[in-house]
């Protein structure tokens, strides 16, 4: 192993999420990403009973050009440390990792992680002649072949899975259909109409073999997380949710192209780091939050993190296993496919709310441990517990 287990273990349960907040989620032509981020920031502070002046670490992120300096200016704070982390979807897990290290080493006491996203209003398509994203596979190298978009990378991977293991688009439909049933129990979710496998199969292709319902939503919104030390968090308004495990594993080799190994050579190391730090096993996990820009991400995450064997996710996800009430509920808020596209940030909020027991009709009974997984070139995982 490439990590120092004793040092990692020393950080287990030493940092907590004390507050979470979200703005309204949807289509807001009159609001910009700063306003949405500010609403979320304000709600997260209210959630834990802190004020902006308590924040001494400020990291701001989003798919647009939101700046941490400008955000800090708007809320009127001079933190000890701050930054952007413009790496796209993997940012939130990576930022939680960095915040945990800053807090654990004593560099600061209270970190706000803030996300603002006006993608709907700005008509962001996540493809075409768009802004260069250094963490995206194949970046902008192959536009002359008409190749673009993270969706295409996932479509290549879905094709590889189908061809290699004999899995099918119909099996994959279980992911969006299940997550829609979860969204229907989430009052804040954007998509709450019933969705069937037949509707999925009849929907248009965007980048074949992926159908429309294999794709995430694109909408506006903001999310904020307030992290502090475990001892500080215990004095605050809500029950702290501990960060028990953190995994991180990057994949840079051959990253000019969609990852054709489906991250089998690298992501298992991320899983090993997270499980080793937390000292738990898969059977201890009550629910999973998985970064679902596309339905196929769920299969790849389940396989590379060892919840099922290589090529088995198509079968593994059938029969209600990943649904609420099943053995391993996945994305109980509806995820990016049905709840809201906040690039993994609302996945953290949902994990916290589930572990606080705040989730009403979609509550996972006696939830104690929840794992977040982001399969990406910057692969990362957070294990939360109460």
């Amino acid at each position: 192993m490439s990590f120092d287990l004793a040092r990692l273990r020393a950080m287990k349960d030493k940092v907590a999420i004390a507050g979470v907040g979200a703005s309204e989620q949807g289509n807001f032509p009159d609001l910009d990403e700063y306003t949405l981020a500010l609403h979320a920031f304000s709600n997260a502070l209210d959630d834990c009973g802190l004020s902006a002046n308590d924040v001494d670490g400020l990291f701001v992120n989003g798919p647009g050009a939101i700046s941490f300096v400008r955000f800090g200016e708007m809320v009127g704070i001079d933190p000890v440390v701050g930054g952007n982390f413009a790496v796209g979807g993997p940012a939130v897990g990576a930022l939680i990792h960095h915040a945990a290290m800053l807090l654990h080493t004593g560099a600061c006491r209270c970190v706000a992680l803030v996300f603002g996203n006006a993608s709907r209003t700005e008509s962001r398509k996540f493809g075409g002649m768009t802004v260069y994203n250094p963490a995206q596979e194949y970046a902008n190298s192959f536009f002359y072949y008409g190749l673009t978009s993270p969706g295409a990378a996932s479509a290549f991977q879905a094709r590889i899975h189908f061809e290699t293991y004999g899995t099918t688009s119909r099996q994959l439909a279980t992911v969006p259909v299940t997550q829609r049933t979860h969204a229907m129990l989430n009052p804040a979710a954007i998509k709450k109409e019933p969705l069937s496998v037949e509707q999925h199969q009849a929907s248009r292709f965007v980048c074949e073999p992926l159908h429309l319902y294999d794709y995430c939503l694109i909408n506006d919104g903001g999310v904020a997380l307030i992290l502090t030390t475990a001892e500080h968090a215990r004095d605050l308004r809500r029950k702290p949710v501990m960060i028990s495990g953190i995994g991180r594993q990057d994949t840079f080799r051959n990253s000019s192209m969609p990852n054709w190994e489906l991250w089998r050579n690298t992501l298992p190391k991320c899983a090993d780091m997270a499980f080793s730090m937390a000292g738990i096993d898969r059977k201890d996990v009550d629910a999973l939050m998985i970064y679902d820009s596309f339905s196929i991400n769920i299969w790849i995450a389940l396989e590379t993190f060892g919840y099922c064997g290589e090529g088995e996710a198509g079968d593994y996800t059938q029969g209600g296993r990943i649904a609420l009430g099943g053995e391993l509920p996945v994305n109980t808020h509806g995820g990016h496919l049905s709840d809201s596209y906040m690039q993994g940030w609302l996945h953290q909020v949902e994990a916290v709310r589930q572990l606080r027991g705040d989730c009403g009709p979609r509550q996972v009974t006696d939830a104690r441990i929840i794992q977040y997984i982001c399969r990406a070139n910057l692969g990362n995982s957070i294990i939360y517990s109460v």
């Binding site: 398509k125 493809g127 075409g128 002649m129 194949y138 190298s141 192959f142 536009f143 002359y144 072949y145 008409g146 190749l147 673009t148 978009s149 295409a152 479509a155 290549f156 991977q157 094709r159 590889i160 061809e163 248009r204 292709f205 965007v206 980048c207 074949e208 073999p209 080799r253 051959n254 000019s256 192209m257 969609p258 054709w260």
Partner: protein, 145 residues
């Protein structure tokens, strides 16, 4: 273009100092990739050092222009106006005989006939203004047809 309609341009390659030789060779209808002079590994896309052994010695070596289809997708959505007339169009990942994975459109084949493992062969596609040439691939089946 013979369509008579005003055609929107497709995105063009943007050569860099790293890959300018690749594009210059293609204009002469030569398909060459960098081969590491220390460990003989071919690489694509272009890079100043070998990702396998870190040697910075290399030569632009001729490639056979053959490979097999590893994966492929079909674009049904418009991202580039220049490709709108081609929708639904394919983009394939091709494992070259020399080892590297390559990206290209497959030509002369219906999208529904593309198969994993299908042998394919490079063809040179000159831009209408003759400013550059890009590589596309045809299947053996389409050549025989």
């Amino acid at each position: 273009m013979s369509s008579g309609m005003e055609k929107k341009p497709k995105p063009r390659p943007v050569p860099t100092p790293l890959d300018r030789p690749y594009w210059d060779f293609l204009r002469r209808h030569e398909f060459r990739l960098q081969q590491c002079a220390a460990c003989a590994t071919f690489r694509f896309p272009a890079a100043p050092v070998c990702a396998h052994c870190q040697s910075d010695r290399f030569e632009w070596k001729p490639c056979a222009g053959t490979g097999t289809v590893f994966s492929w997708v079909i674009f049904h959505k418009s991202y580039f106006p220049g490709f709108d007339a081609d929708i639904p169009y394919n983009v394939a990942m091709i494992r070259l005989a020399e080892g590297p994975m390559f990206i290209a459109n497959l030509v002369g084949i219906r999208n529904e006939d593309i198969r994993a493992g299908m042998p394919v062969e490079a063809v040179f596609d000159d831009a209408a203004d003759a400013e550059f040439t890009i590589l596309r691939f045809k299947s053996d089946a389409s050549r025989d047809a």
